[in-house]
Amino acid sequence: MKILVPVKRVLDYNVKARVKVDGSGIDLANVKMSMNPFDEIALEEAIRIKEKGNAEEIIAVSIGVQQNQETLRTALAMGADRAILVVAADDVHNDIEPLTVANILAAIALKEGPSLILCGKQAIDNDFNATAQMLSAKLKWSQATFASEIDVKKDMVRVTREVDGGLQTIDAKIPAVVSVDLRLNEPRYASLPNIMKAKRKPLEEISPADLGVEITQRLKIIKTKEPDSREAGLILENIDQLVEKIQENVGG
């Protein structure tokens, strides 16, 4: 079977986001960009499934600006077999909404026929947590979100989900869309020989129009601002002072 893994290029999780002075968004000029950490986990899982002999091919897809090529090269170096870049924006500040991303991925899925689409549960920039669910609805496939364990069987995938009260296990019929959570695995680093090899792996470039998908924006961004910041408080001298502060604020 084939596995499709969408990977997003986002502001690196170690870099503090700065709001642009004109309030139009986050400044992404000359800052370190990386693969969305959740997508890395999804890709790692796809590679492990393939290593166990349960998949033949892994296709990584990225949607955004031309520079997303770098993210796809990283995906290829980690172990994806080929990559598709959908150039949907010419400015990195134009974030493509999950609904459009889902439309693009659905069109690719219909062409490629994967059995499984493994997505990160959320992008750490817009924090929507929506693409996998929307994609699954568009395709009318089964949906398993927030996976912390995935077990591929013959015609279904058994997924343990991290939910508010604990863990829930469900069986999702294949083809399925699964979104992954933090504790599923720890992604590998690409080795130098694999980075070299990745340069020769196929990377196809297409446009949304090639897929018959129109880019829409349903949520107009009116403004972006910094939240009220908290002031650093008081460092106390001893435990008794802390006990006093705790007592003042319990049930207060």
């Binding site: 986050i26 949906q143 009260g165 604990g166 961004i221 939240p227 006990v243 604020n249």
Partner: protein, 308 residues
């Protein structure tokens, strides 16, 4: 404007705090109907009828909804949902699972994790782990909104809504429920507790986490954890506070052996008072804490527990 709230009901039990705070957010726009779909609705629907600003409680009782699987829920209820202009759900694992699927079906963008309802089409939501707040205006025909419930208070129980049974037929051939492994606890719920005591990697082991739990119990608090503590197996996953865990805003948040990474702050920086205990005076948690103690947690926490 017609407003619907999707009540969160797990196995017949109403998630009262989440649902009530979602009603509170939705009611800033007007009176609301609440959809109560579960395997058992009588207790839940009775509670909901008392919530202020609720006009009708739509009740659909069916075994199919026992686990609120996304497919069962969205396929069955899509027509009901589509007859409203605004649909609100809590931004819990239930809301996050179901609402975007409904969005995909209706070709409508979901507005996730809304911290403030500004007007009928304009909403504020945090992005970048809460490092920025974005105001967005939706052009969609239906507004699908998941609510960051920690930003709202529960509604008073002064209402007297009508119960209306609805009837929809469907099945779900795509997913099958296997089992739940839920944490049971006598402590208050993490997302609604007035006091939260959280432990991080500094706590060191699952056994040592009892120090955190001991202090929490003394204070009548819920227990939270950082991702590092959950990943290391010190604490169960549903205790995680942060960008990808739970968002809490108690009166008092006590962070013990937690460094204060932005992803953790995202889940607790709206707490009224933050107390931090960390042996490293440079730890970033002290930049957001109202009161800090630079000390070894193994010495400090048991002593605090004794004295409070």
């Amino acid at each position: 404007m017609k407003i619907l709230v999707l009540a969160e009901i797990n196995n017949g039990e109403l998630a009262e705090d989440q649902t009530s705070k979602t009603v509170s957010a939705a009611a800033t726009l007007g009176k609301v109907d609440v959809l109560c779909a579960s395997s058992q609705c009588s207790d839940a629907s009775t509670k909901i009828t008392k919530m202020e600003n609720v006009e009708n409680v739509l009740v659909l009782e069916d075994e199919l909804f026992a686990q609120s699987l996304a497919e069962s829920y969205s396929e069955t209820l899509i027509d009901t949902i589509n007859s409203y202009s605004h649909v609100f759900a809590p931004s819990s694992s239930f809301g996050k699972n179901v609402l975007p699927r409904i969005g995909g079906m209706l070709d409508v963008m979901v507005i996730s994790d809304v911290s403030k309802v500004i007007s009928e089409d304009t909403f504020e939501r945090p992005v970048y782990a809460g490092n920025a707040l974005q105001t967005v205006q939706s052009v969609d025909k239906v507004k699908l909104i998941s609510v960051r419930t920690s930003n709202y208070s529960a509604v008073p129980l002064t209402g007297s809504a009508n119960i209306k049974k609805i009837d929809c037929k469907s099945n779900n051939t795509l997913t099958t429920f296997i089992e739940n492994k839920m944490q049971t606890s006598d402590r208050p719920e993490l997302t609604s507790a007035k006091v939260v005591v959280s432990g991080g990697r500094g706590v060191g082991s699952k056994e040592n986490f009892e120090i955190i739990e001991g202090l929490a119990d003394k204070l009548g608090a819920a227990v939270g954890a950082s991702r590092a503590a959950v990943d290391s197996g010190f604490a169960p996953n549903d205790w995680q506070v942060g960008q990808t865990g739970k968002v809490v805003a108690p009166d008092l948040y006590v962070a013990v052996g937690i460094s204060g990474a932005i992803q953790h702050l995202a889940g607790m920086k709206d707490s009224k008072v933050i107390v931090a205990i960390n042996k490293d005076e440079e730890a970033p948690i002290f930049q957001v804490a109202d009161f800090g103690l630079v000390d070894d947690l193994f010495k400090a926490v048991p002593e605090i527990e004794k004295k409070v």
